[in-house]
Symmetry: D2
């Protein structure tokens, strides 16, 4: 991060909007455009909030728009994907993972629960129950003092959303910020925080392509808050160093040594 | 699990012992043989402890000894690898991961911190500091009431071990059972528990091939306890079901539906 | 714990049932009698399950039925209280807390969220939203492989219950087993696990006195499972020992010592 | 919090310094004066860091210097106590606890592990092993990207400190920032974070009165960072509201109601 700006990329697979007129009618320039626009317009809130520089990237760009250079300069990446998870190159996924572990923030949206990058960072299947029935979702704030909940009431509602229900196959979140109530009878951990390496990961449930969810002011507030929360505090490259002792070792240290044994780690990779 | 036995497999890459006489002198039949023998001999301890049926598997066997059939019957898998992580087939790693997420227990030993299966389940690099200097390790019991600590004192010592030091690049463990003190001045979270899917994962730090660590009675007690702790409570295959509502949805449900939108999830994979 | 039995006490303030005919009609012998009966009848389930010896204790007994001797022999205590929290003596609360920290299990039921013992172990207010409107509660199993969920389906329902809604002012649970959906639109973390000292604490939401909740087979299964889960693994009395070094300290140790400084801790209490 | 300043109070029992010349020689104006001075001098670091307004409070002041009015204006309270925990009035402890649960930050220092306020917020004994032998402590940074570790190296050392060793009887911390290595052979979780209510609590181990620990630049950096981390994000007073349903309840709601039953909660306190 530069002192004065957070560099944000909104990534979208951008297929539904091109293929389906009903979805294009809602998001004519793509989900990413609406998400990015929401981030740009949402007023800064809270101690230490920093203005954003928001760019976009899509699946069809070279390297999906996520070159090493762009990622190196990125503070927080948002990820929307659904039907094209399999088209995302493993090399790009690995690159994103490395950046998260170094410190970059990652916000995974809705159907991104099945994206390669999210499953890889979680280590689990990330499965869930689902239903498309235009039903009401009410998101309850479980941790009102969490930075991601800043400026929200005790709950907020989305009149029509796809349903996601438990059990959601994720590692227990470090922090659970939202839990959703669905009209059809299910509940869902819909705002989940994890630390992975030096990076922060936030999963946010709403955002089905068939509804104007990303125009909702509360959803925009959550995403703006999440970007500030996920911004890197440090950037540290991965190392696995052979290190000298900090204390004098006793003479017994020599006893066990055998030529050939001491270097076994060196051929590790 | 059958009612009356836990089916355990000790997996070892089994290369050091064949290539290096100094290591073969310690573990003539392989590290796996000593680990398996320790599991067989350690008396059952605690409420609900079940006798073990212990088998072994090695890298050089067909499918590394981990066929689907064997894994399906396995309750707890122990994993020792070091220099040959790259030789383990991705297909077998994926198979093991799937079984863990279904409920199988996994115990990752020492240099297994860099194994494909551990990194995949953690989602992080799993890097650390290290040093081979035959130094003393003292493992402190942080949670004396954890089942994995049953029968141990407040700490136990290993006179010579490889050093692993923080920062250990793992997701914060669900439960931290042991923390090591090293003669050379480092500390390490040396006994860590995670739940992943329906399976339990335990990482245990000691066990460098150049030392007779797996002959140590306390180490054997830890592994025997960990097997009991990691044994499956259920086995549940992964699903991501489309489910009907449990409550009557209001009439508004119909309003937003558009042909072609409702089925978008079906082409997910 | 004796080898072969868990010693369980069901504690009840036992006031509603005596004062209110409508409630007495549901629980003629008191809520505790029904809870205890359910524990006695529910079949053992799962590896290591141990038969129970179930007793009861009530507010009006000498020392509320919780003498030091009885508590010392108790493995798991269940606690139902509502309108008489203030009548529970601080000395008994302190005694119960000490036993939990030593290893005894504690299961806090429904309106026990405001009991002195629960608030003391949590350190928070334990407040929540509530409403008595005879509405439907559906408890979703968030962790199907948790021992407390053994034998349950993906969810179970209670046709009429008091509503408790978030935010529930508790420390984030170590494990979240159930989350409730309410007909009126709220959600609640209704099955929460914590470790405190060497003891395990489980909070279970349902159980309003005006409904026959403790006759429900799923509720009885949860309580039976929770007793097995909460049973002590060890019993360790509290100490804060002054201990000798395990390693030889360098000569510098002497440099800083000043008479009178070294003993400051001894007058701590 | 005002927009532009954090209001900080350093509380000290202030007895050792008055009674013991050796300690007075190190901290002539009291530990609190040195701690407050360190906070005032340490440069702001990191996104969103806010200048501090630092005051002090001591045991011998009326209401221990912690009137309701002062606490209401306080963003972060630091607490140093050792030999006089028993002299702190329960009313003041309760007042501090209420403010933490509303959102005020609390930083508990060294022997404050046995303070009433810390034990009350933790719910455990907070016992540990200890030894005064002027030995070396090395604090390892377990989470380098945690805001409290900003500006530190991989570890830092204190040449002479009292030893605290595991097991430390606390609820498992939400975040473990530091773990200490001691010359005499012990380890300790020496920087621990918890959320309680809407407030953040940080325990920091070093700071025995017989050593000049609070003059150490790394210690000062940790405390300055911790104040920023612990500053309130919101302030929310405790309520336990009876709330109306958000959804239309089915007709069955009326079936179970009985006069006298519906009001039982009102006499709760």
């Amino acid at each position: 991060m530069k002192q004065d700006r957070l560099n944000v990329i909104v990534w979208n697979e951008f297929e539904h909007e091109r293929e389906n007129p009903a979805i294009r009618a809602i998001y004519p320039e793509g989900l990413h455009a609406t998400i990015a626009d929401g981030l740009r317009r949402t007023p800064l809130l809270g101690r230490g909030a920093v203005p954003l520089e928001v760019g976009i990237a899509t699946l069809d760009q070279p390297e999906h728009g996520l070159t090493q250079e762009r990622l190196d300069a990125c503070d927080v990446l948002l990820w929307w994907g659904h039907k094209a998870h399999g088209k995302v190159s493993d090399a790009v996924v690995e690159r994103v993972q490395r950046r998260v572990l170094e410190g970059m923030g990652l916000i995974v949206l809705h159907s991104g629960h099945f994206s390669k990058i999210f499953r890889r960072l979680m280590g689990t299947n990330c499965s869930l129950k689902w239903r498309e029935a235009h039903e009401k979702e009410r998101l309850w704030v479980i941790e009102p003092s969490h930075p991601i909940a800043a400026g929200l009431g005790e709950y907020f509602e989305l009149p029509h959303e796809e349903m996601y229900g438990e059990r959601f196959d994720i590692p227990a979140p470090d922090e659970l910020v939202f839990t959703s109530w669905f009209e059809g009878g299910e509940v869902f951990r819909s705002g989940c925080c994890w630390q992975r390496g030096h990076g922060r990961v936030f999963y946010f449930r709403p955002g089905h392509e068939a509804y104007p969810t990303y125009f909702d002011a509360n959803v925009q507030r959550v995403l703006a808050n999440a970007v500030q929360w996920a911004a890197p505090r440090v950037t540290i490259a991965d190392v696995c160093p052979n290190t000298a002792p900090l204390e004098v070792l006793s003479e017994k240290s020599g006893r066990f040594a055998t030529a050939g044994v001491l270097q076994t780690r060196s051929d590790l990779e």
